[in-house]
C-alpha cells in the first residue's frame, strides 16, 4: 500500500483532492461494495431496495461494533482471539443481571460490558506486563471465558431472556425507520474516529504498532496503552454480544463463534495492516459492510453452507491479493 513507484504517484496527483487523500485500500473496499450491489441487482432488484439495505446495515452493526474493538488491537500489531466467548459472556451476563429485581434491567447493559472489560484487562495484562504473545494469552482467556460460561449455564442455553432495554437497543426505533442498532454503530464509530485521530491515546496506538521501542523511548507508557487497548476490545466485544442477545432476544452457547473470523477479515479487508501501525477506521466500516453483504447475498441466492464457505474464503483471498500484499523482500 505504500505508493513508492513513480507512475502511481503521477496517477494520484491527477485525481481530485478528496480522492487523493483517501487510502487506496478504503476506496477499493467501497468500490467492491458497489460492484457487489450492482452484480446482485442483476439477480434481483430487491437487493437495491431501501428496506433490504437498512436490514443489512442493522445486521452489519453487530459485526461493526466487534470489529471496532478488534481493530484497536490489530493496529497495535496484536490480535484478539478471545472475541467469541467474551461476546457470549457479555450477552449471558447482561441477561443474568436483568434478574436482579427492579434495578436489573437498568444495569444489564453496563454489567455485560464490565464483564467483557474484565477479560480485556486480563488479556492486556498478559500481553503488556507479562509479555506473553497476544495470540496465546487471548486464546487461553477464551477457553477460561468458555469454561466460566459452561459452569454458569450448566452447558445449556440459559433460560432467562434479554431484558427490554437490551432488546430496544438492538431492534427498536428511536428515529422512525432507522433501527437503533445502526445508531449505536454510528455512535461507536464517531467515538472510534475521535479516539484514533484526536487523542494522544490514538496516536500512541499507531506509534506502538509501528515500533513499540520507539514509542517507549518517546515517553509513551506503552504497557498501559496496550492494556487499555485490550480492555477496549473486550468491552466492545461484550457490547456486540449484548446487542446480538437483544436481536435474538436471548443469549446462547457459542453465539460468538461466527464473529471472530469475519471481524478480523473485515478489519484486514479495510486496509489495516495485520502487522499494526497502518489503517483507517473508515476502511473497517467498509470491510464490515462488504462481509455482511457477501454473506447475505450468498444466503439469499440459497447457496448451501458449503458453497458459501468456499466463496467467502475465495473472495477474501482475491481481495487480499488485489491490495493486501506486503512489500517484497529486497
Amino acid at each position: 500500500m505504500s505508493d513508492t513507484s513513480e507512475d502511481r504517484i503521477s496517477i494520484r496527483t491527477r485525481l481530485p483532492a478528496f480522492l487523493r487523500r483517501a487510502d487506496p485500500a478504503v476506496l477499493t473496499a467501497f468500490g467492491c461494495i458497489l460492484l457487489l450491489l450492482l452484480l446482485s441487482s442483476l439477480y434481483s432488484s430487491n437487493f437495491l431496495s431501501l428496506n433490504y439495505l437498512l436490514q443489512q446495515l442493522k445486521v452489519a452493526s453487530f459485526l461493526g461494533v466487534v470489529a471496532a474493538g478488534v481493530m484497536v488491537v490489530i493496529l497495535l500489531g496484536h490480535i484478539d482471539l478471545s472475541v467469541p466467548w467474551v461476546m457470549t459472556t457479555g450477552a449471558m451476563m447482561a441477561c443474568a443481571a436483568a434478574g436482579f429485581g427492579s434495578v436489573g434491567p437498568v444495569i444489564a447493559i453496563p454489567f455485560g460490558i464490565i464483564c467483557g472489560t474484565a477479560f480485556g484487562l486480563l488479556n492486556g495484562f498478559g500481553v503488556a506486563y507479562l509479555r506473553i504473545p497476544s495470540m496465546i494469552v487471548t486464546l487461553a482467556s477464551n477457553v477460561v471465558a468458555q469454561g466460566l460460561m459452561v459452569v454458569y449455564t450448566g452447558g445449556f442455553s440459559p433460560q432467562d431472556s434479554a431484558p427490554p432495554p437490551v432488546r430496544w437497543l438492538a431492534t427498536g426505533f428511536l428515529i422512525p425507520g432507522l433501527p437503533n442498532a445502526i445508531l449505536v454503530w454510528v455512535a461507536i464509530s464517531a467515538m472510534m474516529i475521535f479516539l484514533f485521530t484526536r487523542t494522544a491515546f490514538g496516536r500512541a496506538v499507531y506509534g506502538i504498532g509501528n515500533s513499540e521501542r520507539a514509542a517507549y523511548l518517546s515517553g509513551v507508557d506503552t504497557r498501559r496503552v496496550v492494556m487499555i487497548a485490550f480492555a477496549i476490545s473486550g468491552a466492545l466485544s461484550a457490547f456486540g454480544g449484548v446487542l446480538l442477545a437483544g436481536y435474538s432476544s436471548k443469549a446462547a452457547q457459542a453465539m460468538g463463534d461466527a464473529y471472530l473470523l469475519p471481524a478480523i477479515a473485515a478489519v484486514v479487508l479495510g486496509g489495516t495492516s495485520i502487522l499494526g501501525g497502518r489503517g483507517s477506521y473508515l476502511g473497517t466500516v467498509a470491510g464490515v459492510i462488504l462481509i455482511t453483504l457477501l454473506q447475505s447475498i450468498l444466503s439469499v441466492m440459497q447457496m448451501p453452507e458449503a458453497g458459501r464457505q468456499i466463496v467467502y474464503g475465495v473472495v477474501i483471498i482475491v481481495m487480499l491479493l488485489l491490495y493486501g500484499r506486503t512489500p517484497p523482500n529486497r
Binding site: I79, L261, I310
Partner: protein
C-alpha cells in the same frame, strides 16, 4: 564450553515439554484405577496422536515465523475425504491413503503459495483458506457418515506384539521419515533461518522461499496424517466446524507448551508432540480425578493460562528495559 551445553541450550524447550508431559502423565497414571496397563496406554496414545500430528504440522509453519490457522480444517477435510476413499480391497485402500496424503499436501502447498508468492499475511491467508477447506469438507460430508477399511484401522489403532500402541509407532515413523530429514536438510535450515531473521537469511543467499514452501507443504501432509488417524479412530467422516477450530487452537497451545517460539526460528516438532500429549493429558486427568464434566473447560483454561504465564518468568532476568519489546 563443551558441546553438550550448546545441545542442552538448543533442546531446552523440547526438554521442558517432555518434563511437563511426564509429570502430568505420572500424576494421571498414579490416580488411574487400572494403573499403567497396555489398554490404558493404547487409549491415551490414540487420543494423543491426533493432537500430536496437528501440533507437528503447526510447528513446521511456526518455525518459519508464520501461523497456520487452517490446520484444523485440513485435518477435517482429509478426515471427510478418507471416509470416502480409504475403503475396499488392499490396493484401493493403499491408493486412497496416498490420495488423502496428497490432498493434504496440496492444501498446505496452497497456503504456502499464498503466503510466500502471494505475499499475504499468514494469519489472514490461512483464515480464508481454512474457510475454503471447511466448505470442501462440508461438500464431501454434508452429514456425518462413511466408512473406512476396518482391518487397516484396527491394525493402526491397536497394539503391536500386544504391548506397544501401534499409533505411537506410526507417529515415530512420521518423525523419522518427515521431520528429521526435513530438519537436517538444506530446506529445513532455510525454514529455521527465515523464521529467525528473514532479512539476514535473504542476504546470505539462503533459499528462504523454497524452505518456507516445503514447511507449509509438509505441514499439510502431517495434518492429513492426523485426519487419516481420526478416520481410523472413529470409522466415519464428519465436517464439524467446532472440532476443526478446536484442533487449530489446541495445536497453537501444544506448540507453545512444547517450547516452540511463536516468533519463529526456535523449537522442534518433537517438543510439540510432548506439548500435544501434555495438553491431551489435562483432559484425561480431570476425568480420573472425577471432576464434574461441567468444570472441565474452565480447569483446562486455567491450566493453559498458568502454563503460558510460566514463560514470562524470563522477564525477571531482563536487564535492559528495551529488551521487553521484541
Amino acid at each position: 564450553m563443551s558441546e553438550w551445553r550448546y545441545w542442552l541450550n538448543e533442546q531446552r524447550g523440547t526438554l521442558m515439554g517432555l518434563a511437563i508431559f511426564l509429570l502430568m502423565f505420572a500424576v494421571y497414571i498414579a490416580n488411574h484405577p487400572a494403573g499403567l496397563t497396555a489398554n490404558v496406554a493404547q487409549t491415551a496414545a490414540n487420543k494423543g496422536v491426533l493432537f500430536a500430528f496437528v501440533a507437528m504440522a503447526q510447528t513446521l509453519v511456526v518455525i518459519t515465523a508464520g501461523i497456520d490457522l487452517s490446520v484444523g480444517m485440513i485435518f477435517i477435510l482429509t478426515n471427510c475425504l478418507a471416509s470416502w476413499i480409504v475403503v475396499g480391497e488392499p490396493l484401493p485402500t493403499a491408493l486412497g491413503v496416498v490420495a488423502v496424503l496428497a490432498a493434504g499436501m496440496v492444501c498446505g502447498a496452497i497456503n504456502g503459495l499464498l503466503v510466500i508468492y502471494g505475499r499475504l499475511q499468514p494469519i489472514v491467508a490461512t483464515i480464508a483458506t481454512g474457510a475454503v477447506y471447511f466448505g470442501l469438507a462440508l461438500l464431501l460430508r454434508p452429514f456425518p457418515g462413511g466408512s473406512v477399511n476396518e482391518d487397516l484401522a484396527d491394525a493402526l489403532t491397536g497394539r503391536l506384539f500386544g504391548v506397544i500402541p501401534s499409533s505411537l509407532v506410526v507417529l515415530a515413523a512420521a518423525v523419522l521419515l518427515v521431520w528429521l530429514p526435513f530438519r537436517r536438510s538444506r530446506l529445513g535450515r532455510a525454514a529455521y533461518a527465515a523464521g529467525s531473521s528473514e532479512q539476514a537469511a535473504f542476504m546470505s543467499g539462503v533459499p528462504i522461499r523454497r524452505g518456507k514452501f516445503a514447511a507449509y507443504t509438509l505441514a499439510g501432509l502431517l495434518a492429513a496424517m492426523g485426519g487419516l488417524f481420526l478416520t481410523f479412530f472413529t470409522y466415519t467422516g464428519e465436517a464439524a466446524y467446532a472440532s476443526g477450530s478446536g484442533y487449530t487452537l489446541w495445536s497453537i497451545a501444544a506448540v507453545v507448551l512444547g517450547g516452540v517460539s511463536l516468533y519463529g526460528g526456535r523449537g522442534s516438532a518433537i517438543g510439540a508432540i510432548f506439548g500435544a500429549f501434555a495438553a491431551r493429558t489435562t483432559g484425561d486427568m480431570l476425568f480420573v480425578f472425577d471432576v464434574d464434566p461441567l468444570w472441565q473447560p474452565l480447569l483446562q483454561g486455567v491450566v493453559l493460562m498458568i502454563a503460558v504465564s510460566i514463560g514470562s518468568l524470563a522477564l525477571l532476568r531482563v536487564r535492559n528495559r528495551l529488551d521487553w519489546f521484541q
